[in-house]
Amino acid sequence: MSGPLSLAWRYVWHHKVKSLILIASVVLTVLLPVTIRILLWQFNQKIASRADATQAVVGATGSDLDLALNATYFRINPDMKPIRYDEAKYIQETGLAAAIPIHARFTAKQFHVVGTSLDYFKFRGLEIETGFAFGTLGDCVLGHDVAQQLGIAPGQQLESDRRNALAFAGETPLRMTVAGVLKPNGSPDDRAVFVDVKTTWVIEGLGHGHEDLTDATEDSVQVLKKTDKQIIASAGVTEFIEITDNNIGSFHFHGNVDDFPLTSIIVVADSEENETILQGRYQTDPNRNGRQLARPPVVIRDLMSMVLRVNRFFEANSLLVGLATAMLLTLVVVLSLRLRAREMETMFRIGCSRGTIVWLQVWELVIILAAATTLLAGLVFAVWSVSGEIVQALLVG
């Protein structure tokens, strides 16, 4: 190592705290905007590719963004109104598109429980890694990450979360049986629990199973009233929280299934033309009032252009912060030079050239910047490595 470089290194090493503060200042000033840029890029990539794979969705009127995010990322805005199940039937009957129901309102161990049909797996190209697809009420198929994080395998059980800890009536946690686990596919599907849409209605309290009251007498605690045609059960009747081969026969729905809720419907049109015709109907047909057809690619593009506009202000701000940091660093260097004036003068008196003294300062700066760049590169790489997962987790919620 040359003299000035060696001396510069020793100075930086000896004054570790000062050097680390300088390095940290440089790293943080650059890392923050770079991280935001990486996350935004990943966000754009992920959300755009998912949206592009979901050309149209139908749901209640309101925010088309909420609707798109529900169908693609299973996110639910509490204010989002449901649509009826028969809307899916309507879409099918138009002959313009296929309809895949989505009822994503519940969670199990904080993972979204997505009520849908087996068509969803085909539509997204999802494959079963172990076990089988859901076949009966109460079965569930786990996304790859869910199975890994919870350590659950086919044959084991998973209970749905109670949406409100104080809601003891109606909505009941359901102990679901894991039928299969999906292969990883790097999408929000990895972090979801898929069930038949009817299973979500059971969770919602629209369907249930309980002990057989056929033989119960009117004076038993489970019966409020019994006639030849009707048995009215009391609160004392035992409701099943798990669907098994033995009790599946007792599960039934109250009301008309066509009226049951869906949060959204994925529309799979054969052609863009059919999709446009269908969209036209949702815009003009009075019978479709209260419902809308949204195009996630367009919705997400609008969202991203807004995000990028906001980001421009942020980047301008980062530039100013960078400038302020550069000025502060200059101040630190200048003050340091003043403090070290005697040291420099001694070197000069002993026989060091002014140029070498300048080189000594330059090397110190180079070492600080090189250390900062190396650290920054490592951190940027780390951010880059986990950015996809971070964005996925943020989007899936």
Partner: protein
């Protein structure tokens, strides 16, 4: 070793002036510069070392006229021929004792650091009683140890001339005595010329000659200004 003729020097925009018609210091001689503060003792050391120059004069050090040298020549000449010892020690705080001794090799390419020089640095440190403190930093050394380290740094290049500017100014009597003994011993052993600026009359006994600078002080401004 030192030959000065017709030196007229003054710092710009000051009343200070130094006029030396003739002054010589022989090879191997130990000479003390004494006189009140501000009379030009340190200035003369700077002129002899080529740190400062006076245009129209003759300052010949170690057989070379430093006044005629370029600044880079003077630097190289200084580091090869002159060992400097300062009152405030002027050690580099982020270098350990050994690296401080070897500092001249790190700051000027005229000197090539070798294993021999490292061994010499360790040897000098041992002779100065610092053998067990080679890894210590200046702030971990006593005043006396700092000055001994500074003397090692001045001697490491095996200079022909040692210029010491009040080397005992910041030391207690015991350390003062030790430092002077070490300086004399080294100078005598290697036949080095020692020129020392001092206010301490108690150390003049070991010197061959004492020059009182009061005689060189002039009330009228000299014509030659300083350059560096």
């Amino acid at each position: 070793m030192i030959s000065i003729r017709d030196l007229q020097f003054r710092y710009p925009r000051t009343d200070f002036s130094l006029q030396i018609p003739e002054l010589t210091v022989a090879e191997g001689e130990k000479v003390a510069f004494v006189g009140p503060s501000g009379c030009g003792k340190t200035t003369l050391l700077n002129l002899v070392a080529g740190i400062t120059t006076a245009d129209s004069s003759s300052v010949v050090t170690a057989g070379q006229n430093v006044s005629n040298m370029s600044s880079s020549q003077r630097r190289d000449f200084r580091i090869l021929n002159i060992g400097l010892v300062f009152q405030q020690f002027e050690l580099v705080d982020y270098l350990d004792l050994k690296s401080n001794i070897l500092l001249p090799f790190a700051i000027n390419r005229s000197l090539q650091q070798s294993k021999d020089m490292e061994a010499r640095a360790i040897g000098l440190a041992k002779e100065m009683g610092l053998g067990d403190k080679l890894k210590r930093f200046p702030q971990q050394l006593s005043q006396g140890e700092k000055q001994r380290c500074a003397i090692c740094r001045a001697l490491i290049t095996e200079p022909r001339l040692i210029l010491a500017d009040e080397p005992t100014g910041n030391l207690d009597p015991k350390n003062k005595r030790t430092i002077m003994e070490l300086l004399f011993e080294q100078a005598e052993r290697f036949g080095q010329t020692l020129v020392m600026v001092t206010h301490d009359m108690s150390i003049l006994g070991g010197m061959d000659r004492t020059i009182d600078f009061e005689q060189f002080r002039s009330e009228t401004p000299a014509t030659t200004e300083a350059t560096s």
